[in-house]
Subunit: 357 residues, 2 copies
């Protein structure tokens, strides 16, 4: 194979110039790499090259790395085709890793294929939605199989880093079990919860707070795309859903029987589970607290609040705005390190802001 070094020097070929493919292309261009692009849609290639994502690929190109960024159902076929046509290392950016690997497991050049999966996306699609910054700071799973070439693995890890992401290396089947648990099953649970709202009277829905909005948010995603993703990871998803059903049965029994101990046992397990999620950037989760600030609804007040928070020196982890254009005051929730919340409240109050925790 053609990879002498672990360092990614290019050229990089992108097969499939949609949102993800074009974003990888732009991130590689940002790093100064030569990028060539192909897509069954000439329009996509024209748009992506117009954005500065590289030039159209030719059969004579000799890419060091080929990134396959096509819909889940087509991954196996396209990866096999690229292994036939090109001599470089091949990766893909699909959400499920076992199925495409199985499709090329008997390919004579399978050692040049290492799957990967950047944990980033957008509600939009197509090259116009692409961004060189899409992967900045995100985890990027790299999933070597037993026969993968060591240099090929290092090259795909280098791609993740060049795109600004943090490579997380784990076997394909373990990746699929992981995303079933931290992505696919949560998505399906959100859909099951949201499905209960379809026939609710408007007067009931008027009582909706932030909780139900958070629980159901991801369920707004494209059913056709998530159908492909879940179907491609059916075994791991079904195993977890069967666990959910057993615990749901126990929950229904506890609620129906007035068994407070059984009910609290599940709620306790839920609290423990939320604490397992690491901090946004891989460190241990730090306990956070919320500070609510009443903000007058004129331009510049939000800017003044953030200027004051910056001067106070408390790092803001997240923000939620509850803002009604018809009311004179909006409510801004600042999420900060729990130990710093009291200091922020006191300092903001001393600057004239109305706050509460």
């Amino acid at each position: 194979m053609d990879v002498a070094h672990s360092a990614l020097a290019g050229p990089v070929e992108i097969v499939g110039a949609g949102l993800l493919g074009t974003s990888v292309a732009l991130a590689c261009r940002r790093a100064g790499l030569e990028v060539v692009l192909s897509d069954t849609s000439r329009e996509h290639v024209r748009t992506a090259t117009g954005l500065g994502a590289g030039r159209a690929a030719t059969p004579q190109d000799q890419p060091q790395l080929i990134v396959v960024a096509v819909p889940p159902d087509q991954l196996g076929t396209v990866i096999a085709d690229v292994l036939d046509r090109r001599g470089g290392v091949v990766t893909d950016v699909g959400s499920v890793k076992g199925a495409p690997l199985a499709a090329v497991a008997d390919h004579p050049h399978v050692e040049r294929y290492v799957g990967s999966h950047p944990m980033a996306g957008s509600e939009r699609s197509g090259p116009l939605a692409a961004s060189e910054a899409l992967f900045d700071g995100r985890p990027w799973a790299v999933t070597p199989h037993a026969r993968a070439d060591a240099a090929a693995i290092r090259l795909v890890e280098a791609l993740a880093r060049i795109c600004g992401a943090v490579p997380v290396t784990l076997p394909p089947d373990e990746h699929d079990r992981a995303v079933a648990r931290i992505s696919h099953v949560p998505h399906l649970m959100a859909a099951l919860t949201a499905a209960r709202l379809t026939d609710a009277p408007q007067a009931h829905l008027a009582l909706s707070g932030q909780g139900v909005r958070d629980v159901t948010r991801v369920a707004a995603g494209d059913p056709a795309l998530y159908g492909q993703i879940v179907a491609g990871n059916a075994k791991a998803v079904a195993a977890l859903l069967t666990e959910v059903r057993a615990e749901l049965d126990a929950l229904i029994a506890a609620v129906s029987a007035g068994d407070r101990t059984g009910l609290e046992a599940l709620l306790d397990r839920g609290v423990t589970g939320t604490r397992q999620i690491p901090g946004k950037h891989g460190g241990p989760a730090r306990p956070t607290g919320s500070v609510f600030v009443s903000v007058p609804d004129h331009p510049g007040e939000l800017a003044r609040l953030f200027a004051d928070a910056g001067e106070i020196g408390v790092n803001i982890e997240d923000v939620h705005i509850d803002h009604d254009p018809g009311r004179p005051v909006g409510l801004v929730e600042l999420v900060v390190d729990r130990d710093r919340a009291e200091h922020l409240v006191a300092s903001l109050e001393s600057r004239g802001w109305v706050t509460h925790r």
Copy 2:
């Protein structure tokens, strides 16, 4: 009864000076009403009066309105006791409305009781966590029963408005079915999802994105409190969970059989459900879009971003910050009206910001 006018003139008695009770007291004080406080904890009364929430109640007080703000398990007993001792209108602020009403249904003065439920809270508890602004802009359910006095209903609606909330009037059993659907079942679904994380390997959890964080966030709430709430609304919750189980069974069958149509049918219902949730302030939900902005990690940059967004004139509905203190650039997600997103991107880019959608 002693209520000549629908207008709330005071005095207002607060029974239970915890987070909710003291917040109601502070909001009433903000409106200039006389407030008296009682609690089984003298410490709570001392703290609340020290915060300016009113003075300690005496047996000679003749409150126009008594607000019972004690834990769910004690509501029925305390409401009955207050109806015995006082002549004014009585309400409570518990999360479930059928159970306390059933406890006082045969009370000779039940016409003076009208339950209510402000849709606001905090992860903290106790009078020190209270705020006069806790209810600003939130829905506040008012739940009259068949024998409730019309003037008493108007008085409780007036309390909601004086506290800055938006009264939503509906019968107690309908309220309980509504909160089962838009609050209690979403909470339990979040707990079931989070419970799946308890024995996950750290390498799997490292791939966690915003989705699983959102779906599970509410499951971090106090198990003892949510146990009381769910147990108090067992019938409505169990009915909905039984619906969930039927749909989960169908989902497991579809995933296991590779039935893409069945799978997409559930995902479609989920999308429909998310669209049922009204806009934050009761209007129809408007479609939103996200704009991502790379923000250099020095003080003042976030303030500059909001100042620019304010000048551009695009209303920011929500904000998420993905910010790592160790990296030079953070990513800020601005959630705006979908039709305004392109304008915001173009205008921010023209001011030198690096953005993507």
